[in-house]
Symmetry: C2
Subunit: 203 residues, 2 copies
DNA sequence: CTGCAACCTTGACAAGGTGTAAGAGATGAC
DNA sequence: GTCATCTCTTACACCTTGTCAAGGTTGCAG
């Protein structure tokens, strides 16, 4: 039953899989507790077909998150992490992430935090975290950022602050512009950025 | 059916309610997806009795969280928020919160983030957030903290950073001591604390 | 263009969760 | 000791996840 994906016949199987993931991302983004049946229906497929591709609901969610994660990673890579001052690269990276995260507010805000397994979650965020860590480490080596806090902690903090900013926007407590500004300032402060432009976009 | 709690007979009803909440906190802390039946059993009560006191599973979780919240608020109030420099008061407050949060790691890490309603969640954290805001505002007024970021944002950031530190501990990626140290430093940096002792506990 | 393997679908089932209901029994307040 | 209040038992309807088997379609190889 399980499509073997590596062998003989996979044209329509691949198409089904893509349709399911597509529907999953779309539905879960507006209703994180959507049932497998609802996702199947939105994909124009039967519930059993979903189970033919994904062994459990959780694995389906994982695959959907991975898809979003790939999109985020692509946007980050397009931001040019290794060019220019680390501070600038980091801000570009934050903006790129914000744009992707802004496209899937509910999905990232809710689902990514109800993962059961801590190290599964860690693995999922790894590609994103790696890029962040690279920039942060570079900044620490060049002296742009303070080196007293460990890169791992700073990565976690940066991601968390990004989620916080997104949450404030979603809750309607901050405008997108204010949140981006507060996020920039806060991240730079935590990083101990020297000569913190403090607020390059403001007055 | 619903115990009226305000009128005539409430001795054993109150006792049942307390036992249920007690069991809920205890069980949910180790298994956030515990069923109502499991909670009822742990409380020495039937599932229907639980439903006699709490109309739905979600309201039960809310009540359990409120109980933990009260404990945290009590600990915070005992920390003496209005005495001494705001920086010291804030650090005392963080430690008090950490101690309470450390007692309910899973419950706070998981449950408090799968709340459905954003403003319900905001209300639940209100008592905690108010005390934080009071200290932060005091620090801003005395000039101990920088005033460029809004108190509301700083409150959200501080709570979030506390959750992050707790998460790193739970995941085994940081020791309690390291996490507390990183949390102190990070919060003070975001607040723009002047003369940041940077790390009063370390070397 | 025919065959066959891979895929999808229909239908049915078991297990477990939430929430509701009615009636009999136990318990505490007065 | 009485009676309202609370709890228990039993039963139900509904939804969701996950599994199974049998039959119908589709696409690729030859």
């Amino acid at each position: 039953m399980t499509p073997r994906q590596t062998s003989h016949r996979r044209a329509d199987a691949q198409r089904s899989r893509a349709a399911i993931l597509d529907a999953a991302v779309r539905l879960l983004n507006t209703r994180p507790d959507a049932s497998v049946e609802a996702i199947a229906a939105a994909a124009g497929v039967t519930r059993q077909t979903v189970y033919a591709h994904f062994p459990s609901r959780e694995q389906l969610l994982t695959a959907a998150l991975d898809r979003v994660s790939e999109e985020a990673v692509a946007a980050m890579d397009a931001a040019g992490l290794d060019t220019g001052p680390a501070t600038d690269a980091l801000l570009r990276l934050l903006d790129a992430s914000s744009r992707t995260a802004g496209r899937y507010p509910v999905l990232l805000q809710k689902i990514s935090q109800l993962t059961v397994d801590p190290h599964t979650d860690h693995d999922r965020h790894a590609p994103v975290a790696d890029r962040l860590r690279r920039v942060i480490q570079r900044g620490q080596e060049t002296g742009e950022f303070d080196g007293r806090l460990s890169p791992d902690w700073l990565v976690a903090v940066t991601i968390t602050l990004g989620h916080t900013a997104g949450g404030e926007i979603d809750a309607g407590r901050m405008s997108g512009k204010d949140a981006a500004e507060a996020l920039h300032t806060s991240v730079l402060r935590v990083l101990g950025a020297v000569a913190p432009a403090e607020d390059p976009t403001g007055e």
